[in-house]
Symmetry: C2
Subunit: 204 residues, 2 copies
């Protein structure tokens, strides 16, 4: 196996690296340079026709793309420790929460990135007014997650899971592009401190 | 169990109904009227704090939301016939393809819906120029899926899967809001005819 990776601050490859660190898995990696458009080069498009990172090349030369799909594949190969849940209810709740992190927060954060950030200005027309409204959406979503985290240690329940990895990588990317955690979001800030202190964060 | 549902054309509840029909599962349903904002009413927000449909209420009164998470929960309870795959590679590939359908097609289709459609005009400011560019993105994504479907029967491989359900519900919603399948997308059209002819589509 070979993991095609992009270094920080790219949020999706970091999801996989954190997952690997939590599982104690070691997979060879090759960094591609997004700024040099290496993920759009013909030899990579043969692996991942969608031209996105990360992608996991299997031993037969084919590849699995999409960060969460890569992690699910690896979890099926190496079930312990579980990050996607083991009982039907855990499986459902963890997927619900990681999808909420994606749909409610990562989508507006991505729109802020694409439509307002100087780094993406050359990649296509920026609808800056639309991008600005997504700053409000992202802040609102952070407040919502703050409320949800009031009564528990981790996003999907009492145990750390893939949902925490998705929310953490999303929030750290949001901070990197200049968004901020709301001042009064104590539960979200406490959770962020807790998951950021994990060994996996230092190693990934 | 009780499935909080919204009738067509809402694409996400239809994913769950198609999944249930393919699995031969029968779960009591209650329709909420999105136009009457019943999914934002306090008694429903107690079930699903995100205020979205569908949501599956469990026997303890708690609920699982997010269409794919609901289906994963039900698949874990009722593994046969599998729609999310059984081997690690099937599990990875099916999740990859259903995520590509969501990320590459459903997101732009949703932006067209929210930012250009008369039905959503009263719900918030429409960035119509941004919405229009998403028509181009959606058409480009359909072409891309057309190319990917050249060499196989179903989206994630030789067998029908959850990925087909996600692409079908997305495309049918795109058609409903006025987008069109590209004229020359023969593979995508063939696939669409094939999956639309299934018994589950008549029953769901």
């Amino acid at each position: 196996m070979l993991l095609y990776n992009a270094p920080d601050p790219a949020p999706n490859p970091r999801r996989v690296r954190l997952f690997l660190a939590e599982k104690g898995l070691d997979i060879p990696m090759r960094d591609l340079a997004i700024v040099k458009r290496e993920h759009k080069a013909p030899e990579f498009l043969e692996k991942n026709a969608a031209g996105q990172l990360p992608a996991l090349e299997l031993d037969d030369g084919s590849a699995i793309a999409e960060s969460i799909a890569i992690c699910r594949y690896l979890e099926a190969l190496h079930p312990e420790p579980s990050l996607f849940g083991t009982t039907p209810e855990e499986i459902g709740r963890i997927d619900m929460w990681l999808r909420r992190a994606e749909n409610m927060l990562m989508i507006p954060v991505g729109m802020v990135w694409v439509h307002t950030h100087p780094f993406t200005a050359g990649l296509g027309h920026q609808f800056t007014d639309f991008g600005e409204t997504n700053k409000t959406r992202a802040a609102k979503a952070m407040h919502w997650f703050d409320g949800q985290l009031e009564d528990r240690e981790y996003l999907a329940g009492p145990g750390y899971s893939m949902a925490d990895i998705v929310l953490l990588t999303t929030i750290d990317f949001a901070l990197w592009i200049g968004l901020e955690l709301p001042e009064d979001a104590d539960h979200l800030r406490g959770w962020h401190d807790r998951v950021s202190a994990r060994e996996s964060v230092k190693r990934a």
